[in-house]
Amino acid sequence: MSFREKSLWVMLLGLAGASAFYSYNVASVNQVLQPDIDWRAMSVLPPMVGLFIAAVVVLVVFSVVGHAVMAIVDRRTGEDERDRLIALKGEQIGGFVLACGVFFSLWLAVISSGNFLFTHLLLAFWVLAQMAEYIAQLVIYRMER
């Protein structure tokens, strides 16, 4: 497995972990602070912003530590034309997922009065788009082996 593939795995696992951390805690905060509210009227609360920042910090720390460990145990290889083409294909797939997310989020913004669902659907699709981008690249690397 090349350094680039390992890097993709680190980013994928980091993003999955940070997303799970954020989702679980936001659901808990919602249950405590907005328990009986209509789902269409929910709004983003200040503690959720703090959780988002914490999730980003978790992701950054995991990525930095993961890449540092990889650099210690494995020889870092540069990027060549094939890596760039695979990255472009991944970005194309991720871009499609993100565009779908923007469309659904806008639709949700129209039918809901609060901003919670709109914001979190958009965030969820951004995470999905990133994951789709990483997974697509990993699949292509496997197929072309």
Partner: protein
């Protein structure tokens, strides 16, 4: 996905062996690509750019058409 191979064939594996058992890594370092890309080219799963194809031919000191064949 890289440019998928198919119609473009090559003799890189044979040429490496003829060149005293040159490894994929040695060829990759000489051309400036990764070992994984050399492997994908040899397996006809990736067609390299013209620049890389010429560089590979130059490493073996052969004309391009003796390393790569189209539609063979």
């Amino acid at each position: 996905m890289g440019k998928r191979g198919g119609l473009i064939r090559n003799r890189i594996r044979d040429l490496r062996e003829s060149a005293g058992g040159m490894t994929q890594q040695e060829l990759a370092d000489a051309v400036g690509i990764t070992r994984q890309t050399v492997n994908a080219i040899e397996a006809n799963k990736y067609s390299p750019s013209l620049e890389v194809a010429f560089e590979i031919a130059r490493v073996f000191k052969l004309p391009l058409e003796q390393v790569f064949q189209y539609g063979a």
